[in-house]
């Protein structure tokens, strides 16, 4: 039986936690059916906390909480599986996913499909799959779920389907428009083949992958409105130091 306002053993991930008062923690969580939410974990940082070692980012969890207001209180937490974390770049990529979620999701909107994709992305990063394709397909789903879905099918002016052999400029929040300009130097110009490849989820080829990176980076930056992504800076510092 659940009281009104109590949720029991909801599948969830911890996105980020910060210290609260002396021994507690404010947890930012992505849950399966209740979306992103903040939870207060009382005493979670105490030496004898029952949640010690459990409330970790990226681990599949089941969480119970009570109270609706601005800050529900965590009442139970258990692991639902154990994810062996990777070292190096894939781990930083996981932090990047969390930062994206915190920037693009508002609290309280459910995103069950995104939740599933997030779990899949974590598993493939932890399992040593290539980092870039995993990030790009996650970014595509994230934008879609956040209400900024891409149009990768037809020219927004002529309304004709994209043709592989033509060049298009991608207008943020609208879509591709045929252009006769050469792609060189314009980061928002793509071939029809590249856009169709991205739409089909075909990120195996180097060309599509590079195009997807260029396109998604511009669109994410556009929707972030100039806010920098901190994890991106750390990741590039790591690559710059030869650490990637």
């Amino acid at each position: 039986m659940t009281r009104a306002g109590s949720i029991a053993l909801e599948p969830a991930y911890l996105l980020h936690a910060r210290p609260w008062r002396e021994t507690s923690q404010l947890c930012e969580v992505l849950s399966q059916r209740h979306g992103r939410l903040g939870l207060l974990a009382k005493g979670a940082r105490g030496a004898r906390s029952r949640w010690r070692g459990l409330l970790r980012p990226f681990q599949p969890l089941r969480l119970s909480w009570t109270g609706r207001g601005s800050l529900p209180v965590l009442t139970a937490a258990e692991p639902s599986a154990y994810l062996q974390l990777p070292a190096g770049e894939p781990l930083f990529a996981m932090f990047y996913l969390n930062e994206l979620l915190m920037n693009f999701l508002s609290r309280g909107d459910p995103h069950p499909d995104l939740f599933a994709h997030y779990g899949g992305a974590l598993a493939s990063l932890a399992g040593g799959q290539p980092v870039e394709p995993a990030l790009r397909s996650f970014e595509l789903v994230l934008l879609e779920e956040a209400g900024y879905g891409l149009n990768l099918r037809h020219d927004v002016v002529s309304e004709r389907p994209l043709e592989p052999g033509l060049s298009y400029r991608y207008l943020p929040e609208r879509g591709p428009v045929a252009t006769d300009r050469d792609a060189a130097g314009d980061k928002l110009v793509f071939s029809g083949a590249e856009l169709l490849g991205i739409a089909a989820g075909d990120l195996g080829s180097g060309e599509n992958l590079r195009a997807a990176r260029r396109l998604l980076r511009s669109l994410l930056d556009h929707h972030l409105g100039g806010r920098p992504l901190k994890t991106r800076a750390v990741l590039s510092a790591m690559r710059g130091s030869g650490a990637a």
């Binding site: 070692g53 459990l54 970790r56 974390l85 932090f95 901190k230 650490a243």
Partner: protein, 202 residues
């Protein structure tokens, strides 16, 4: 409030200490002014002296009263072995128990990308100078066993690799005196994957 403004300011100031709420702050302040004015004098002098006289070691970022901390200045330590820790408290803990004879590097934090704590903030440029300077035989990475601590460890290991300095990570797993059934899943799983050979014990 009954208390005069200066005493109220003292209460407010005491609350910057960890674990000190309004009640404890009041108890401490009243004790100092009521019964131990000499102690209060010493406290205030010591606080001021520490603030003015204690800086950080320019080599390892540990607290120091001169350019170098006592460990970095010591001729009896092995400066080719550097143990990287997150906080000065970690240095104290290792010094008190572990019999470490090498030197340290104190990050004063750990990488936490979501909080905007990157390589600069944890003194990586200074550590990199030391790696590049040569003479290091081993970088022992003793960051915390949290996700951020592991990310920091991975970053440091890659940095060491770039400078061809062997890097090691302190072992973690089942605590001494710990019974397996009470160990959490993450720790147990790590302990299993990082098991060590006992062949040498025969």
């Amino acid at each position: 409030m009954l208390l005069p403004p200066r005493l109220q300011q003292l209460l407010a100031a005491l609350r910057c200490l960890p674990g000190i709420g309004p009640k404890s702050a009041q108890r401490m302040a009243l004790h100092l002014l009521e019964r131990d004015r000499d102690g209060a004098e010493r406290l205030s002098a010591a606080l001021l002296a520490a603030l003015e006289g204690v800086g950080s070691c320019r080599r390892c970022r540990m607290f120091a009263e001169s350019e170098l901390c006592t460990v970095c200045a010591s001729g009896a330590r092995d400066h080719g072995m550097v143990c990287v820790v997150e906080t000065p408290a970690d240095v104290v803990a290792i010094e008190e128990s572990a019999g470490w004879r090498g030197a340290y590097f104190v990050l004063l934090g750990r990488l936490s990308p979501l909080d905007g704590v990157g390589p600069e903030e944890i003194g990586i440029p200074l550590l990199e100078e030391r790696l590049a300077g040569g003479g290091l035989r081993e970088l022992v990475i003793a960051t915390s066993v949290t996700v951020e601590g592991e990310a920091t460890a991975a970053f440091l290991a890659a940095l060491a690799r770039r400078h061809s300095v062997p890097a090691t990570r302190i072992a973690h797993g089942v605590p001494m005196g710990g019974e397996l059934e009470f160990v959490d899943a993450g720790t147990l799983s790590h302990a299993l994957s990082a098991r060590v050979s006992m062949a040498g014990d025969r």
